[in-house]
């Protein structure tokens, strides 16, 4: 039962993140998923639910400069990740693999979760990651044309109104901005119409914050290749994505 559906309060967001983290911990390793690490990070400015995904060595085919230079930076990061006792899931990675870091944070303005993401090049890749690479590696082919039509540099806009609902345009914009919690520059999917989208996708507000978060993730993540691992749905305590009817004595 959510307090202010289709919005999420910050407390509900926190509990949703905690619950999802516990569920993932219970799943153990996600063998069939591309998720390589999941972490819940409590920062000065709020909670970050970070999902790291490996997308392999996308440089491999067309290589330009791959001399045996230092790969120190990335390897150090990986070592930290592997030794990190708080990491919920981990998997082996090669330092040449590219990674995507998805960070879910809470927007106190829009009162919904917001998805930030950054593409991290593998070792030996020396060009900065730009918007073209994001299009190429993170945006499914079917949305390419739509986003190319948007004039604003660095902006990705999907008009998916027709996909889910008839009357609401979900303007899923993604821009390069500062993640308000970590302060790092990242792309993000603009949350301004998220609440409307959730209102259309979820029929009843009688759901748990965690279910809200999972449904939100499956809607928004779809645009940038973030898919929920199916382990989440086959363990002993499956998340019910079925909509429950309103409970008796619903005060509101």
């Amino acid at each position: 039962m959510l307090f202010d559906f289709p919005f999420l309060t910050v407390e509900e967001f926190h509990s949703a993140c905690q619950d999802l983290a516990s569920r993932l911990r219970a799943c153990g390793s996600l063998k069939d998923s591309s998720w390589s690490a999941v972490r819940l990070i409590d920062q000065t400015n709020g909670l970050i639910f970070r999902i790291t995904k490996s997308i392999g060595n996308v440089d491999a085919s067309k290589d330009e400069t791959a001399p045996e230079e230092d790969s120190g930076f990335l390897e150090t990061e990986q070592n930290q990740a592997e030794e990190d006792p708080e990491a919920l899931i981990r998997s082996e990675q090669r330092s040449t693999d590219w990674q995507v870091e998805y960070e879910i944070v809470y927007s106190p303005t829009f009162q919904v979760p917001v998805l930030y993401f950054a593409l991290k090049a593998g070792a030996f890749h020396h060009k900065p990651v730009d918007i073209e690479m994001v299009y190429q590696h993170l945006v499914p082919q079917q949305y390419h044309q739509e986003l190319k039509n948007v004039g604003v540099m660095g902006g990705i806009s999907f008009n998916v109104g027709c996909m889910f609902f008839e009357n609401t345009e979900l303007d899923v914009r993604s821009l390069f901005q500062y993640n308000p919690v970590s302060g790092s520059p990242m792309f993000f999917v603009h949350p301004c119409n998220t609440a409307d989208a959730m209102r259309h996708v979820i029929v009843s507000k009688d759901i748990s914050p965690e279910t809200y978060l999972l449904i939100w993730l499956s809607v928004i993540g779809n645009f940038i290749k973030l898919h929920l691992p199916h382990e989440l749905f086959v363990d002993d305590t499956p998340v019910s994505l079925k909509f429950q009817g309103p409970s008796l004595g619903d005060a509101s």
Partner: protein, 329 residues
Amino acid sequence: MPTKMDQASTSSIQQAIWEGRLPLEIVLAPSESRVYDKTDPYLISYHRISYLPSLLPRLHAFFSSSLIDPSSQPHEGWFSFENVPLKWHYPVGLLYDLYAGAEPASKGGGGLDESDAQATLPWRLTVHFCDWPHEDLVQLDAAGMVMNDAFINSVKEADFLRNGTAKGIMSLSKEDSSGLWEAVSVDLPSFRRISNILLPPTNQPFRNVPIRIFLPLPPDTGAPSLKVFQSPLSPSIAVSNMTASHLGLSLTLSMARHNSNNSPSTQSQTVGTALHALLPNLFPSRRTPVLANPVLHGAVLPMSAPVEEVVRCSAYGDGWAYIVVRMVG
């Protein structure tokens, strides 16, 4: 609503804020200069509500003869203060209040007298045209679209808070939405015209008030050196404990300041009630600053000021009031 500020005082406060200037002394990073630290500084009295990247073309021209790498472009420029890269999406006045205004300019007076701050003025910044700090700053583009987008994004957030939808900014014409950005700090009449399209009329209260509160943290506390507070902030609050909004305010009747225009069960959300709700340890009183002062545009805000009026007359160009918490003493 409390005795509404008339249009004339709103305008005159807005005018004063638009005219607020900050003396800057900008030096070229010694490592990028042919004469190391002997480059002449660039001095300018700059609008507090302006953004630093707007200075880049003239800074690049000014320093071009000193640059070791003359092929760099103006939009590759970034600023630092005491080795901290400055987020260019904050207005320069806010950056100063965050990083340099050691003591608020005035204590309780609320004026714009900066005599106490003389020691830190002009504000000495360093400009760099190489080695963009990718971990800290979003990279700019030659056409200025990144800055424009960041600004409009912020305008959109403020609009969403005020109205509960983002339809206002979405319905703004393309000319007006770029006009708003172009008008910031240079063209008050144009800015007023466009922002009045977005602002709800004065007889229609905001849904929520776009305010962010910044608490600078000691530098050794790890990554982000600022704690930012934002919570749905209603322009009026219930007097009773029962429905005291998202903020969990518990106000006693004796604290309530009744206003004839208000319904009997609500009162204006003031700077004091908002700070007390968000930061009760730093603001134990709703009326008097005890441990810390709220600073906006270099001036201490009165605790009794209704937050909606603060935003209507003294928001930055993007519609937000960015209040910096400054410890007393």
